[in-house]
Symmetry: C2
Subunit: 279 residues, 2 copies
């Protein structure tokens, strides 16, 4: 049991952590911290938190576990701004979609007995705000937990237990492995969906059916959040994008040559991979 769980940033992910923690009896008291009153009030209204606060530093002084669910490019600054206020034993973790920049930006800068362990629950959607929070969001999803060789092993264990208690499976990875993998599985698809959606002329909108809608759905995500993710993982994303460009070249050559065999092979491999994923 966590006595006081503080969730910094009560959007879809933060709100879902609160709902899941309360429903599962995981936390005695859940504090939601944010910068904007309306979003905090909404989190309170949906029952995701017991108390809301605009004062991050004050909340830090009485937290046992703090989860930072803010945009990736704000997490380092927020963690470092409050670390000195935390009591010994406080565990800090996050839900950011990039890990290396966050973990490296904090490691070695925390007081003794205050620990950060990077996390990334692979859950969420293009929707935004605590009204879309879902206590089952983490059920059977995977959360990446990303310690480094210097991370305190007991803190890693507590972090793993936390996510498992919310219903998630957990995979331990290094921050760099995480970022390289997510560049391919998440950040590149977001970029590609955004490129497709962005180039669509308005007058063709009525001709966009289910296929287009599915393929571009994530492009409805918050641009400022995704710009931060792209910037923090830009090295791996450039590599992924370049590999994707090469793959598109295969399709282009096959189309130019009208090569049925190659087109068939490319589409069949894609189908095998996609079928293996399930719906």
């Amino acid at each position: 049991l966590i006595q006081t769980l503080t969730i910094v940033g009560v959007g879809l992910i933060g709100g879902s952590i609160g709902l899941a923690a309360k429903r599962r009896g995981l936390a005695g008291h859940v504090v939601g911290v944010g910068r904007q009153r309306p979003s905090l009030d909404e989190a309170l209204a949906v029952g995701a938190v017991d108390e809301v606060s605009l004062d991050l530093a004050e909340a830090a002084t009485r937290s046992d576990l703090m989860v930072f669910c803010t945009p990736v490019d704000r997490i380092v600054e927020q963690v470092l701004s409050v670390a000195e206020r935390c009591r010994p034993g406080t565990l800090l973790t996050d839900a950011g979609s990039t890990k290396a920049a966050i973990v490296q930006g904090i490691e070695g800068k925390l007081p003794k007995d205050v620990h950060l362990v990077g996390s990334h629950p692979l859950a969420g959607s293009e929707k935004k705000g605590p009204r879309f929070a879902d206590p089952e969001l983490f059920e059977n999803r995977l959360t990446a937990v990303t310690p480094t060789p210097s991370t305190d092993p007991a803190a890693v264990k507590r972090t793993v237990t936390f996510w498992k208690s919310l219903g998630s499976r957990v995979k331990i990875m290094s921050p760099d492995d995480h970022d390289r993998a997510l560049a391919l599985t998440s950040h590149l698809p977001h970029l590609v969906a955004s490129a497709l959606a962005g180039m669509m002329p308005d007058d063709l909108r009525e001709l966009c059916a289910t296929g287009f809608r599915d393929t571009t759905r994530v492009a409805a995500g918050d641009p400022s959040i995704w710009t931060g993710i792209f910037q923090q993982n830009r090295e791996a994303l450039v590599i992924a994008l370049t590999a994707f460009g090469s793959r598109l070249e295969f399709f282009l050559r096959a189309l130019e040559k009208n090569d049925r065999t190659v087109l068939d092979a490319l589409l069949a491999q894609a189908k095998r991979n996609r079928d293996a994923l399930g719906s």
Copy 2:
């Protein structure tokens, strides 16, 4: 009322046409024609057709309206193989995702009083077979009907009425306009989803969450059907793919320069376009 409606190819689309026509009392008798017994039996079992047949030429002799729901690269040959058997007044249409090659391949080669009007209902999914047929599939969807200057106006009118009677809205377009538009709204997204799915290493599968699943869903479609579509629309698809490549270059340059302003603008434009589409 259509006395005898013949559906050639009773997969998801053909089966849905049969279910919708029967439920709406649109056809006195619905014949399903195919090449494989199991799929025909399934169409009969789900109630999509009243009768099944392996004999396309015989079915043609007693049809008032024939809808070809076969792969785009088989439609021209099938239509031309049976046109001479049709009674005067028989209307032929199709549900193919490309239009110019089909319409041009048939136009001028039909007997007097047998008419083809190209159609493309923008409905369907990556699923396959009559067991996924849905009588509501065309409800509020758009069907493109693609006459040319030589198409019989009364036949166009009957085709429009047919699709509207199935619940669809109808848009009249030239075959070339259709193909250029669908290259962007459907064929390019399919190619892009397939490129993404195809390049994903097996060991990253567990890290593919909702975003990846949505973005690549259509890649589960039948490769042989999509190879035919790509080949029939390859000129427009090459142009669309080249434009998409240029758009990816904007992202690549912005990432290389770490240019937050440009990344934000690209993602914001994508979000505006995607939001305008609705879920």
